[in-house]
Subunit: 409 residues, 2 copies
């Protein structure tokens, strides 16, 4: 391994649970089996030609055993990028296709060399591009989620949009389960909600992005996105895992889809929570979302009922934002259970470059959705100015009400 | 629930692990939260209009608790089909999108009403159609897998194809990790391998289907499939989970892609093995593959190193083959670790309507790939005739050799 040029390889890290002892053999079996198939029985001349396609074991690290004698280990395997086309179906099928079914094994990290990463779109706008579209630089953004979309008509949704926008939010997103939009067709809804946004802007002086839920057969989804943009859409929401990462990739790579794309984490919980199986949350919701082109990524906050460990949520945000040679950073959007009282904690966790996202924490405000938004705006202003919420609540009846209802420092 | 017309609902069954006591409340929260969002606080007039969009709890069944006091329960929730577009991204996002991230919960079944199922393609050929294409009716089919594809050129692959076909196999499939095909471009490879198939057929009198691995950006994949068909392809392999079920759906629904589609289970192990999280194997590899249009579905056999519990493999096969009002049955293809000695066991498990699929069990034969195929053919003939393999091995030196090497009754 000493001569291995890692810029020509994707390195996958796996957590395996087993009886121990044979981890080196297992690692070697993966490195060969998932690349050239077999090695030692190949003639020397053939080996010479296949060398550049052969995988390698980078390291095997045993992590100790539990009470039942099960040993954990980390295996790092290097796969030649020459074996892949530059897309996530190729990468995932190769490094965790068959292997995902081979006992207790979890894919916990993937390292892509810059040369290979260059073939992926990454976020088209990224944090800076989204901020520029909104004209907001030095504070966390604020987003509200429609309480419900199913069964509502265009006019009603536009009115609900207006109420939310009036509270001073920067973004509004559709419900991710909004598929059948017979009463509020996609393009009509976009036009109506953006008119509502303009009405609200005239009062608040703030611009609002509307992430409409992009749904369609995969064969039509890019065209539908383009039509949305033509209809004035200024953002799109996508259930990335339900459609596949490659759909996000192709949307992000298309120059005509020139609006920020927000990735919803729907289905991610089928992949990341098991300690023994699946793919880690920072890979599923961090690294791969950014690589495929999400500008903003929702993921479970550590504070709601749909909860994730705080360290894991921070690892997702780290993957989305850390400086990279090739990819722009994306906005982390910790979601679920967020109310104004949590703003200092969120700010402490993630600083400026995040989207504070609330549904119930906005619509459940006793004064209504607009008041709910204003309570958040007051809370965000407070943390930026270094004030306590308690202090800021003296100047904001809406914030005072929110703290009374949901608590908070 | 007594008046619920289940033909208007998709019923999802979840296995949950929790503290017990509040499962009814949890179920109610799902039924409302993942459909209309809220219910009790809606005005009566609004409730009337939203009624048809509201989810319902069908049943809550506690299953007892473990030593740590964790209680297991099965929740069945009915979701109105009116809320969905007829595609799997809509269904999966709705019934297990956000919910997948909500604690220890596994989606273990989905029941689709016939009216809704009609909107899905299902297998275009099914078991009967594949049999008709091959002219083989009354025995299990036999498939061999290229030992390796990466790094080989078209001529070499065509020769390897010929060797496999010569052994009397009915189908040959590409390696699923074959993405970069610079040395053996897709359409050229198809043409060359089908010529090799003809050469072999001239000797064996048997037709052979070649499932070439269909890979492309999702925006191009249906067109690429059509070009393959124009180039003479008579089957296609697809990594369904890497691309998303909807890609399979659109391929199967396209009349110009008029060849059987074989679904590879790559990545399925990231979803099904945990008892607490994910989606069950019979749903991932059985029900949804058939609904979206796979004619043949590979899944881990219970006999190889990539192992799955036998009962679970039988449940997958049951989902693929059980008579349905709407969908054709699909071929189960239990894979990995298969050698001729296992044929009686496979026949006992699944009978005629299966594909016996081998890689190492064919290429690892001391007489080479053609001899490996012949050993399987002899084993399949034997079980059909009610002979033991030991007895049949008297008439087949290849089978005798295989039994000597790998064992078997």
């Amino acid at each position: 391994m000493s001569n291995l040029q890692l810029e020509d390889y994707i390195v996958a890290t796996y957590l395996v649970h087993g009886r121990g002892g044979d981890f080196h053999k297992k690692a070697q079996g993966i490195a060969v089996g998932l690349t050239v198939g077999s090695w030692t029985d190949l003639p020397a001349e053939r080996q010479e030609r296949m060398k550049k396609h052969l995988g390698h074991v980078v390291s095997v690290q045993e992590l100790g055993s539990d009470e039942q004698g099960t040993v954990k280990a980390l295996l790092k395997i290097a796969y030649p990028t020459i074996n892949f086309t530059p897309d996530l179906p190729a990468v995932l099928t190769s490094v965790f296709g068959k292997l995902s079914m081979d006992g207790a094994i979890k894919l916990i990290d993937l390292d892509f060399p810059a040369e290979f990463t260059k073939n992926f779109p990454g976020p088209k706008f990224g944090i800076e591009g989204v901020r520029n579209r909104l004209g907001v630089q030095n504070r966390p953004l604020l987003m509200s989620i429609f309480k419900s979309c199913i069964g509502y008509d265009t006019d009603t949704l536009a009115e609900l949009f207006y109420q939310q926008a009036l509270g001073g939010v920067d973004l509004v997103k559709d419900d991710e389960i909004f598929f059948d939009d017979t009463y509020a067709p996609f393009e009509k809804r976009i036009e109506a909600c953006l008119k509502a946004a303009d009405r609200a802007s005239a009062e608040t002086g703030k611009k609002v992005l509307y992430a409409a839920n992009l749904t369609a057969p995969v064969t039509e989804i890019v065209d539908k996105a383009k039509r949305a943009v033509q209809a004035g859409a200024n953002a799109l929401l996508l259930n990335v895992l339900a459609y596949g990462y490659d759909v996000l990739h192709r949307l992000a790579a298309d120059p005509e889809v020139n609006v920020p794309i927000m990735a919803h984490p729907a289905l991610a919980g089928a992949l990341y929570p098991s300690p023994q199986y699946g793919i880690s949350a920072p890979v599923v919701l961090g690294k791969l979302m950014r690589l495929a082109g999400a500008d903003l990524v929702l993921y479970p906050s550590p504070y709601g009922s749909v909860a994730m460990e705080r360290a894991e949520t921070l690892a997702i945000a780290e993957e989305l934002r850390k400086p990279k040679e090739v990819l722009k950073p994306a906005f982390p959007v910790p979601s679920a259970g967020i109310h104004p009282g949590l703003v200092p904690q969120l700010y402490n966790d993630l600083g400026n470059d995040q989207v504070i996202n609330a549904g119930g924490g906005i619509h459940g405000h006793p004064g209504g959705s607009a008041a709910g938004g204003r309570a958040f705006v007051a809370a965000i202003d407070a943390v930026i100015q270094g004030r306590t919420l308690e202090d800021a609540a003296k100047d904001s009846a809406e914030l005072a009400k929110a703290l009374e209802l949901w608590g908070g420092k």
